[in-house]
């Protein structure tokens, strides 16, 4: 190796920033260090239990548990609140529509809107359940890098086609976002201002169309690149998980809590 060249290589190496390990994860706390496989299993069981819960008290317990997990994961208030608002924009519609009942009379236009208290309690139940699941997902899955979650899915024997699809989807989501931003900028520098008019709708339709066409082209090139490197159907993953005692403990405690919740729900104790 010539001296100048090795210096160039050394300089190129020096400019490297330290490799961030949790760069697309939000958490720094103990939850972030848990094995993603343990977190996936627990969050799956928890979501199932919450989805099946039918009493508001049970769902409220779930929300409390979820809040505890979020606090334990130390995600930061800003992220937590912004996502909480996003989820509850959807549940707000339930509160808007569910408490009203439309009743049909004799005539074709004989409609009346009546207040329905059952709808209100249903809206409450769904809101609590949705938030309980969302909080647990945020605390447990949001605290691991996305790629680790995908790897954990593969290790948990989720079909490899599905995992490959997730991996490629996440990889190219970023490329598509960049492409979208470039197109938006190209529109902006030519004076495009979105409004409620046909021109805007047409432009957005074209933008969407171009993104679709480009994605199709790209998918062909990516497949070619995979073929060039001998792709034969296997999407390889490199192992880098290590199960620790804390993970076993986490699974045991979570299992116990879930069992107690399930017993409370289905043991016939009256909640009313």
């Amino acid at each position: 190796m010539s001296e100048a060249a090795s210096q160039a290589a050394a300089q190129a190496a020096v400019r490297v920033e330290p490799a961030p390990t949790l760069d697309n994860a939000l958490a720094v706390g103990p939850v972030g260090r848990l094995d993603p496989r343990a977190k996936l299993v627990v969050v799956f069981a928890y979501s199932l239990l919450m989805a099946l819960a039918y009493s508001p008290l049970m769902a409220a317990l779930g929300v409390l548990l979820g809040l505890g997990l979020v606090a334990w994961a130390r995600l930061g208030w800003k992220v937590f609140l912004s996502r909480l608002v996003a989820v509850n924009l959807f549940t707000a519609f339930l509160w808007l529509f569910l408490p009203w009942q439309l009743s049909l009379g004799q005539g074709a236009w004989d409609l009346s809107l009546a207040y329905n208290p059952d709808g209100l309690s249903l809206a409450l139940l769904v809101t609590l359940k949705a938030n309980a699941i969302f909080l647990a997902l945020l605390a447990l899955l949001g605290s691991s890098p996305v790629n680790d979650i995908f790897h954990a899915l593969a290790h948990l024997k989720v079909p490899s086609k599905l995992v490959t699809m997730f991996l490629l989807f996440y990889r190219y989501l970023h490329v598509m976002r960049q492409e979208y931003q470039r197109l938006r900028q190209a529109m902006q520098v030519r004076g495009f201002q979105p409004g409620s008019n046909l021109h805007t709708y047409k432009t957005y339709a074209q933008l969407t169309g171009i993104l679709l066409v480009r994605s199709l082209d790209r998918s062909e090139r990516v497949y070619q690149a995979m073929l060039c490197r001998g792709f034969g159907g296997t999407f390889w993953l490199l192992d880098h998980f290590s199960w620790r005692r804390a993970d076993t403990g986490f699974c045991l405690v979570s299992g116990l809590v879930l069992l107690v919740l399930a017993l409370l729900q289905w043991s016939g104790i009256s909640w009313n």
Binding site: A13, A19, L167, V175, R218, M226, L227, G230, W236, L238
Partner: protein, 217 residues
């Protein structure tokens, strides 16, 4: 020894004028060929035909003297000819750098330990030793380009098909790439607009024009 030869190849994308009509091309071991040509001259198309990614309407493709007829023949050929894509975002489809570099060697059936050594060795040779755990979508354009080269080199090919390899590289990284290529015992065909790059890295240069390869005037 001749690695690849195209004979009388004609190719057209559907509904467009032909890119090649009766074109010949060959690359032998030990050869370092530069191909200069304007945009849209069919430089990338040429490489894609060589590797069986596009199929010509006419003409034959020979790998090491044997006629390539189906996907199976091209699979074998792709082990020997590494293709560096023009857009690194096409080439880097894994989430982490180490996985991407390991993808090819694992497909070739190498053992995990050997693959790990290959990945580390290849990244080190490009001055990217500590990039293994980086996420591919967070790299800069130049970094992506060098990692793309690493993914190709890790398959230990005999020759490379390089499609505009210096695009997006700053002068330092371009120097690293030129050094690594120069110190290797690889043969290659390199496509570029950059005559200076071709003159520094290639033994002879041809021009792709009007669907034919011609000697430089």
């Amino acid at each position: 020894m001749e690695l690849i030869r195209l004979e009388g190849v004609s190719f057209a994308y559907s509904g467009r004028p032909p890119v090649f009509q009766g074109m010949d091309f060959a690359l032998s071991e030990g050869q370092r060929l530069g191909i200069l040509g304007p945009n849209g001259a069919g430089k990338s198309t040429l490489f894609q035909i060589c590797l069986g990614l596009l199929h010509p309407q006419q003409g034959r493709i020979y790998a090491k003297g044997g006629l390539c007829q189906g996907e199976k023949d091209f699979r074998a050929l792709r082990r020997e000819l590494g293709y560096l894509f023009q857009d690194p975002d096409d080439q880097l489809f894994c989430l982490t750098v180490a996985e991407d570099v390991a993808f090819g060697p694992l497909n070739l059936g190498k053992g995990r330990q050997e693959v790990q050594r290959l990945v580390e060795g290849t990244l080190n040779s490009l001055g990217l030793g500590d990039y293994g755990h980086r996420l591919t979508y967070q790299l800069s354009g130049g970094e992506k380009r060098l990692i793309s080269l690493a993914t190709v080199l890790a398959m230990q090919p005999k020759a490379l098909l390089l499609d505009e390899p210096s695009t997006g590289l700053d002068s330092e990284r371009a120097a690293v790439m030129e050094r690594v290529l120069d110190e290797s015992n690889l043969s290659w065909a390199m496509v570029s607009h950059d005559l200076g790059l071709l003159e520094r890295t290639c033994h002879n240069i041809v021009r792709l024009e009007g669907g034919l390869l011609k000697d430089l005037p």
